[in-house]
């Protein structure tokens, strides 16, 4: 366990530095010289994510004096994985906010500590299907948000919309469709195309056929690799249709009329979870207690409203603006799809190469 000692002492030293300069996200008010307090380094997204998290931590610190310092994800959340890999087992992080595919990667690398349910008592009410487990069946994550990837369109650009993504092959959609690079959204774009033609992630061949038709028809106007690119693309008005995550749609819907097509007869909407996990070698009690606070139903509700994602606690209410985007329990069977993210994690390398070799040349001609 020498690694954990290194990590903890590093965290301590670094936090002392922050205390001296009184700087940055660590919020000086939280860095009190209370000798007994635990220190946690939490990785979170920027913008709304960090804003609401800081508010919640303020509440948290009314009763607990654990000091929280933040690091923000700067690229995709996979970038933090590369970073941890390079310095493991000396990674300074304790709690990470990421999503299912990255949870799977980290479980595969054996970096995560199983969740201690005697401390994270709020995990009991979170539906079991949301929680990622290791090979031994232990619960490894604390899901905080239900997010999704859906087809949709701007109603002001394309008033007639579409009923099935087969329609997108028609000439009037030429150059109108925005899609993710196949490895963004962990390959769900290929999966939705596969489902369209009767396949799924494990039988992706029909999906590739559809993607080829889509590429050759000239329908694809832009391929995005990040949320801000998607938001800008949809805001330009040049494109009308897209397949993206609820975060991108939520931001687009703030400025333009958006219709989400998550109840199509011949396709599905994709659900996944974002939430916390705890790295090995962290001060476990403090980390789990911190995660448990975020999982409390009222906090869970507060956390998800500005993010435009669904809460994971059945007792929490979703942002009314996005109520339509998620499924009622009886609709789940018919419209919702939860992909096998462990499988997608293994497929992404091959899918990426396939895209580079087969699809991009089609669009350039």
């Amino acid at each position: 366990m020498s690694s954990s000692i290194t990590r903890r002492s590093f965290t301590k030293g670094a936090l002392a530095g922050v205390g001296l300069t009184g700087s940055g996200l660590a919020m000086p008010s939280l860095v009190r010289p209370a000798a007994a307090a635990d220190r946690l380094l939490v990785v979170q997204w920027g913008a709304q994510w960090i804003e609401i998290s800081e508010e919640i931590v303020k509440k948290y610190n009314e009763t607990k004096d654990t000091r929280i310092a933040w690091e923000l994800h700067s690229g995709g959340s996979a970038a933090i994985v590369a970073k941890i890999k390079a310095i493991w087992p000396n990674a300074p992080y304790n709690v990470l906010s990421v999503w299912d595919p990255v949870f799977r990667d980290m479980i595969a690398e054996d970096w995560l500590e199983p969740i201690d349910e005697s401390i994270v008592t709020n995990l009991a009410t979170i539906p079991d299907i949301f929680i990622q487990k290791n090979d031994a069946g232990q619960k490894m994550t604390v899901p905080l948000s239900t997010a999704g990837a859906f087809w949709g369109y701007r109603e002001d650009v394309l008033p007639d919309g579409f009923d099935s993504i087969e329609d997108l092959l028609r000439p009037e959609f030429k150059g109108k469709v925005v899609v993710p690079y196949p490895i963004n959204l962990t390959g769900l774009f290929i999966v939705t195309c596969a489902i369209q033609r009767g396949g799924d992630e494990k039988n992706a061949e029909p999906g590739w056929e559809f993607v080829k038709e889509l590429a050759a028809s000239g329908a694809i106007g832009q391929i995005c690799t990040s949320n801000s690119e998607f938001i800008n693309a949809m805001a330009s008005g040049q494109y009308g249709v897209g397949f993206w995550n609820n975060g991108g749609w939520f931001a687009t819907a703030e400025n333009f009329p958006v219709k989400i097509k998550n109840r199509m007869e011949d396709n599905k909407g994709f659900l996944y979870n974002e939430g916390f996990c705890v790295l090995k070698g962290s001060p476990l009690e403090a980390a789990f207690d911190f995660a448990n606070f975020f999982a409390r139903p009222d906090i869970n509700e507060m956390y998800n409203i500005p993010l435009g994602s669904g809460p994971t606690q059945p007792g929490a209410t979703a942002n009314p603006k996005i109520a339509e985007w998620y499924y009622k329990p009886d609709e789940l069977e018919k419209y919702a799809y939860i992909a096998d993210y462990a499988f997608l994690g293994q497929a992404k390398n091959e899918w990426n190469e396939r895209w580079e070799r087969e699809i991009v040349p089609l669009m350039r001609s």
């Binding site: 920027g46 913008a47 310095i87 931001a251």
Partner: protein
């Protein structure tokens, strides 16, 4: 074609290209200035319909950005200082020398220019980790030295190209030591190139994201990393406001330098000075 027509044609082309270059350079800058006052959080049609100072306010009031700026200034100036001094000396040695392996060495020194910065960032992270360096600041400085060094070598070499070795030799034959000749002849004549290299080094380091992304730690992050982290959910135009502020600061600094010391003295005039 008569000489007069040919000359007229030549001058039209000459000034035409200059006008085109200035126009091409200016258009995006004007738009960037406009963007920095754009109230929207997405790239919409131009011109914007809604104006505000919010991005300037955000930059000027946020401790998070100030901390990033501080780190950026420390990292960029340290890396620039190192690269400029050592890079200029290296370039002079390469230009003057006729030694074995010179071409290979020169290629190696500029090789970081062609390696995507993501790769450099990752490589330095692994390398530093093996050396036991886990602190952000030394890692960042290491990475930034690698990316800035080649610029100084290249620009100094470019400035040395026109110089005949005979200047240096003349100084030697007049009894100067090689170091005196170097200090009083070669370095002053290559000054424009060295300064250009220092400027490139600073700018490339200051705007660099990919290397810093891998090398920063929670408490030591550069300004572009901080700005990018806030762009996840929406377009955050603070980055445009920062650019505008820096363009203005740069121009004011150059103006002030000119008033205080004279730009010609700092930048150098080459062998022949300014003749008109």
């Amino acid at each position: 074609m008569s000489k007069r027509y040919a000359d007229a044609f030549f001058f039209t082309g000459y000034y035409g290209l200059i006008a085109l270059a200035i126009l091409f350079a200016l258009i995006p800058i004007v738009i960037a200035v406009v963007l920095s006052f754009d109230n929207r959080t997405f790239i919409g049609p131009f011109p914007p319909t809604d104006w505000s100072f919010r991005w300037y306010e955000e930059f000027l009031t946020s401790d998070y950005y100030h901390q990033g700026l501080k780190t950026s200034l420390i990292v960029s100036s340290t890396a620039t200082l190192f690269s400029t001094v050592i890079g200029a000396l290296t370039a002079i040695a390469i230009d003057r020398g006729r030694f074995w392996g010179r071409g290979v060495l020169q290629s190696l020194f500029i090789s970081p220019l062609v390696i995507p910065t993501v790769v450099i960032g990752f490589g330095v992270l692994m390398f530093a980790s093996r050396l036991g360096i886990v602190d952000g600041l030394p890692r960042l400085i290491m990475g930034h030295i690698i990316i800035t060094f080649p610029y100084v070598v290249r620009t100094t070499l470019a400035a040395l190209i026109g110089l005949r070795p005979s200047y240096f030799e003349a100084a030697l034959s007049l009894g100067a030591t090689p170091y005196q000749a170097l200090w009083h002849i070669t370095i002053p004549l290559a000054r424009t190139g060295i300064i250009a290299g220092a400027i490139f080094a600073f700018v490339m380091s200051f705007d660099e994201v990919a290397v810093s992304l891998f090398l920063s730690d929670p408490f030591t992050y550069t300004l572009p990393v901080a700005l990018l982290a806030q762009m996840r959910a929406n377009l955050n135009l603070t980055i445009a406001a920062v650019s505008v502020i820096f363009i203005i600061v740069t121009i004011v600094l150059i103006w002030a330098l000119d008033r205080i010391a004279g730009l010609d003295k700092i930048v150098g005039q080459g062998v022949y000075g300014r003749i008109r």
